[in-house]
Symmetry: C2
Subunit: 345 residues, 2 copies
């Protein structure tokens, strides 16, 4: 048996292997493996000897070798655009914890929304041999994801969906939430509405605009002008500037995210407009700070934590071989009326 002194001497001593444990316990590596994994019955005495050796040597199984031998890595790949949006980082946190509970680790791939990056990230994760994928920021057309789907690879999307229908997805009721927002604004008497949106190739953006316009149509009002942006910092600020220079200035603006709403407000305030007096603003997401007394942003609340949690569940089931439902699962999105729309408290 290796003397404990040896470990102290070497700096980064070569890690203890299952072989070392087997020798110390006087058994085969197969037996050590069995007590480690509870994969087959082992006599109480043998088990005790092995466990002693394990703790005496501070043995730490090598997960890389394990993955190699098992042919699966117990790893899921989570693909997100970035972590600057609190919405994304919250989702990441939920996914990591959810996966961990089932013994899965998660590798985070940041796709930075540049075209081509998503394919690159998938390639990268495929080399790591992840057992499945979670996409939180897919665009409507995403060939690389569709290729995965075609191969029958375990894939679950959340938040944003693909154009093509048959894929496991969990999102929120963007349409309904936006309709409620529009109706509230209409009820307040607004006649000139506008929307500041993200890119038109995102399902969330499309659905939020559609829901919003549908409400106007139902009220026999003309469609609201839509200003599309790339969701870059500063985009909504500029959008607001643009909208206020038009002939028919909006009296109410709906932004497809809270961050955009906050930026739009920033422009308005910087230019001596009163919110909500001169301009009503409604966002979407209900980030933590939306409720702050200095903000009190009217917005549509969606429960990202639950979306992410459901998405991992689905993925884990798919990886486990279960037949995963192909229908979309939609969580509710509720209007939260606060101050910035003028009708709230």
């Amino acid at each position: 048996m290796r003397s404990p002194r040896l470990q102290g001497e070497a700096r980064i001593s070569a890690p203890i292997t299952i072989e070392d444990v087997a020798q110390a316990a006087g058994v085969s590596t197969a037996t050590v493996s069995r007590v480690l994994n509870h994969s087959a019955p082992v006599s109480p005495e043998t088990r005790a000897r092995v466990e002693d050796a394990i703790s005496y040597l501070s043995y730490r199984p090598n997960d890389v070798a394990r993955s190699m031998a098992r042919g699966r890595t117990a790893t899921i790949g989570l693909v997100l655009d970035d972590l600057t949006n609190p919405f994304n980082s919250q989702a990441a946190e939920i996914v990591i914890h959810g996966a961990e509970k089932s013994g899965f680790r998660t590798i985070l791939g940041l796709a930075a929304s540049q075209s081509g990056r998503c394919a690159q990230v998938i390639e990268f994760l495929l080399r790591q041999r992840v057992d499945g994928f979670l996409f939180g920021q897919a665009r409507l057309e995403e060939p690389a994801i569709e290729a995965l789907l075609d191969r029958g690879f375990p894939v679950v999307l959340f938040n944003r969906r693909l154009h093509r229908a048959r894929a496991s997805f969990v999102g929120c009721d963007n349409y309904g939430g936006s309709t409620a927002a529009a109706n509230h604004l209409i009820g307040l008497g607004h006649q000139s509405l506008a929307v500041i949106a993200g890119p038109a190739n995102l399902s969330t953006v499309v659905e939020r605009i559609d829901g919003f316009q549908a409400a106007l149509r139902a009220a026999r009002m003309q469609a609201a002008p839509v200003f599309y942006t790339q969701y870059h910092p500063g985009d909504a600020y500029n959008a607001m500037k643009e909208l206020l220079q038009r002939d028919r200035k909006p009296t109410a603006v709906f932004a497809t995210t809270d961050f955009m709403a906050l930026e739009a407000i920033q422009y308005a305030v910087d230019h001596q407009l009163e919110i909500p007096g001169d301009l009503a603003v409604v966002g979407f997401d209900d980030i933590t700070l939306a409720a702050h007394p200095w903000i009190r942003l009217t917005t549509v609340a969606q429960h990202i934590a639950e979306q992410a949690a459901r998405a991992v569940e689905r993925l884990l089931e798919a990886i486990g071989g279960k037949q995963v439902p192909r229908e979309a699962e939609l969580l509710p999105a509720e209007l939260v009326v606060r101050r910035t729309c003028g009708g709230g408290r």
Copy 2:
């Protein structure tokens, strides 16, 4: 050679291996490995045949097997408390990208600041055989990290340091930033100052309090009362309540993070206090929203992105075998005067 039709038929077809490529190209796996890694000269004709086979078969190297064979994983472990704090998620993003540039992947371990969790996370990452560790949220005493250090394992800390000195660290000038904050408040004529702090076992908290008190001492004022919290949501709200019930109410409060400052403001505003008229508030971090016209929080700006970037650099050097400096590297922390302290614009 495997017919392409075969791939289409199977659902998740067994991935192509280096063996398949070697066969298709009529060479040994050693040769394929050489062209893949440019690890040894290969004749142009052979190389061409191998490359054709690779693209024809859409071969994707197995990183798990690679790690196994090489004895190193090209992976770093990043340990953070959580991702809800934008400060943390920004750091995570920087680290992931920085590591990727050098061909390293990063596994994120969330330590949720419960005692014992850090050791668990380290254990988990050690099993994955990460090549080094990055800690962004260490507490002053962290036996598990110290054990790593003692073993000579590549470790770099950022943001918060350990009590023990000899460890690679990059942080910011918490002391100087807080001194500046205190001096500004003193210059504004405040006599009754208080601080809302995080846990006392965090280097950032200790240094920020020390810097703050030092300024008061230099001005021959008595030390400010410190209210310690656990950095949980709601903690600063309650702290503010407590402080305002005391005999000697503070006219100015310094919070050790912007989130805490915002919560303190929330309590004050909820209870009809005017900011900064009735109460001046200063934070620390300078999160994005601190600059919003509806907030305009006076705060101490620290450049987390650079901290994180420097930390990965250091770690990568350490993993590469370079002797890494043991001294702390401190980035500047600058006071940003805005509205909430009463002296700004």
